[in-house]
């Protein structure tokens, strides 16, 4: 009768919050791939001999990684000393399906000496950023209050059709990106969701060209590294 004490894991403890996986390629590959289902479904069902228990896990995945084993592939500061094979093997630890579920991919470049040496007074504080974030989130909560969801990341296909309408100009941009970057259907809907968020941050009801292009720009790193 063992195996009945089912308890939730880190992803459920991160419900409505953040799951941060530092140095993503260091994780066991199969452990990362376990996240595929929960990242889409927002809940996880654990089945054991005599019980099946569902826990909610609506979390935001934030991961960080180096581009290669030595860490300097694509860097402007130092040359990468890894062989092509090494880089490929390193990057292949992150599977395509996981990458496809990550809406925002961003490159963090090293900081120049001038920037490091500048005084910190001009830099925006967290509270200012949080103020904008809160306003954008309030718009979302208000918009989706009848649907039982809290944010753009939870939009269902039906709601995307309703709230992520694009003008013909935007559609053209998205179409050319879709073909050029070889995006998946999931990536397409995810770009629309991110564009909706960027428009919300701008306090704009309509998704404009700059919003959709910023959203597309967050998806092109996998072409750079994983191709």
């Amino acid at each position: 009768m063992e195996g009945l004490f089912l308890s939730h894991g880190e992803i459920s403890l991160a419900h409505h919050g953040v799951l941060f996986l530092d140095e993503l390629p260091e994780f066991n590959k199969s452990v990362i791939d376990v996240l595929r289902g929960p990242l889409e479904e927002k809940f996880v069902t654990i089945n054991r001999l005599n019980a099946s228990i569902t826990y909610p896990c609506n979390f935001m995945l934030v991961a960080s990684m180096n581009p290669c084993p030595c860490g300097y592939y694509g860097s402007k500061i130092r040359d990468c000393t890894c062989s092509e094979k090494q880089i490929k093997r390193y990057l292949s630890k992150i599977s395509g399906p996981i990458l496809d579920r990550i809406d925002i991919q961003v490159e963090v470049q090293g900081v120049t000496y001038q920037k490091l040496n500048s005084s910190a007074t001009k830099i925006e504080t967290s509270s200012k950023i949080r103020c904008r974030v809160n306003n954008a989130r309030k718009l979302q909560i208000k918009r989706y209050k009848n649907y039982g969801i809290y944010s753009n990341s939870e939009l269902t296909p039906m709601l995307i059709d309703k709230y992520c309408n694009l003008s013909s100009n935007c559609k053209n941009i998205l179409q050319s990106a879709f073909e050029k970057l070889g995006l998946s259907a999931r990536a397409y809907t995810r770009i629309l969701k991110v564009a909706r968020t960027i428009a919300d941050l701008d306090n704009s009801e309509e998704i404009k060209i700059q919003h959709i292009s910023e959203a597309i720009q967050y998806r092109n790193l996998d072409r750079k590294y994983w191709n």
């Binding site: 009768m1 063992e2 195996g3 004490f5 308890s7 894991g9 880190e10 403890l13 409505h16 919050g17 953040v18 941060f20 996986l21 530092d22 993503l24 260091e26 994780f27 452990v31 654990i46 054991r48 001999l49 005599n50 019980a51 228990i53 569902t54 979390f59 935001m60 995945l61 934030v62 180096n66 581009p67 860490g71 579920r101 990550i102 809406d103 925002i104 991919q105 961003v106 490159e107 963090v108 470049q109 900081v111 120049t112 920037k115 910190a120 830099i123 504080t125 967290s126 950023i129 974030v133 809160n134 954008a136 989130r137 979302q140 753009n152 909706r196 960027i198 967050y218 790193l221 590294y225």
Partner: protein, 298 residues
């Protein structure tokens, strides 16, 4: 004599009522708990015996059978200590009240006993109260140290008790347990963070990306060379996450409550969780799970 006391337990986040049935009859002295108890529930025998003795009552050497119904679900946790004890005291005639049956019909009792008769904090009180309310229960008797956590639920009477004598006197009509005011909406959202984005110099585009991610709850991947500030940026993410709403907070607290991660004084979790497991984490600690299922032994 037979007595039946209601209690509640959880399967995941779902609650189910457990009827704690106690029968005391003459026969060889024996104390047996049936209904698939796990080790914690089985050990409650010793806690109960000693707590009753140390509360100045006599624990009779007779044949005591306790059944936790539904008998086909494995019962785990220490919250059955109190309902079993109350059941024994009723069956034993230590608690006498002619309205008792009606009262217990709509009452759920949960709590762990310590050897001196004190009633100790248990895990999962918030989801238990929510589920008890859903199941049509009118009042819940629980440990005093869980009272604040339970007070966020309205529509069900919360009766906190601190020791065994209190609950005996209460049922005998000699003591009044003060109901907790369940309109506890005085919530202070904290906005204090140890890290701030103004400590990160440069990295405007990464900051912007994190701002978008935080605003819409989007997944985000930071790629960069060592020392470029990826971890530094991610550590500061909680400081720009949107405020958690009361409903979201209840959902988060429910999960944290089950594994005892809530504090006694400020049980409600008012900041968004930020979990950063080490990369040696296993499948089951990441998504949840339990002991590896083994073939049935008996």
């Amino acid at each position: 004599m037979l007595s039946i006391v209601k209690s509640i337990s959880l399967q995941g986040l779902q609650g189910y009522l457990v009827s704690t049935q106690v029968d005391i009859s003459s026969g060889l002295p024996n104390f047996e708990i049936v209904g698939l108890p796990d080790t914690i529930v089985k050990e409650s025998k010793e806690r109960i015996k000693t707590a009753i003795k140390n509360s100045g009552l006599e624990f009779l050497s007779r044949k005591i059978v306790v059944n936790l119904s539904p008998a086909n679900i494995k019962k785990e946790g220490s919250m059955f200590d109190l309902p079993i004890t109350v059941g024994i005291l009723i069956a034993n005639g230590d608690i006498v009240n002619k309205y008792l049956d009606d009262y217990l019909q709509n009452t759920v009792i949960i709590g762990e006993l310590s050897l001196n008769g004190n009633i100790e904090k248990i895990n999962g009180v918030l989801p238990m109260c929510i589920e008890a309310k859903k199941l049509g229960i009118k009042r819940i008797i629980l440990p005093k140290s869980n009272a604040i956590e339970a007070s966020f639920i309205s529509g069900i009477d919360i009766l906190p008790v601190s020791n065994l004598l209190e609950i005996i006197e209460f049922f005998n009509g000699n003591f009044i347990i003060e109901k907790i005011d369940s309109s506890n909406t005085n919530i202070q959202f904290s906005s204090h963070y140890n890290f701030d984005f103004c400590e990160v110099k440069g990295q405007e585009s990464a900051k912007r990306a994190l701002e978008v991610a935080a605003a819409g709850g989007h997944n985000c991947l930071l790629i960069g060379s060592p020392g470029s500030g990826k971890t530094m940026l991610a550590k500061r993410l909680p400081s720009i996450l949107p405020d958690i709403s009361f409903d979201e907070s209840l959902e988060v607290t429910k999960i944290h409550s089950i594994c005892g991660l809530t504090s006694e004084k400020n049980p409600l979790i008012l900041t968004r969780p930020f979990r950063s497991p080490h990369h040696t984490i296993t499948h089951s600690s990441l998504v949840g799970g339990g002991l590896i299922p083994k073939p049935r032994r008996n």
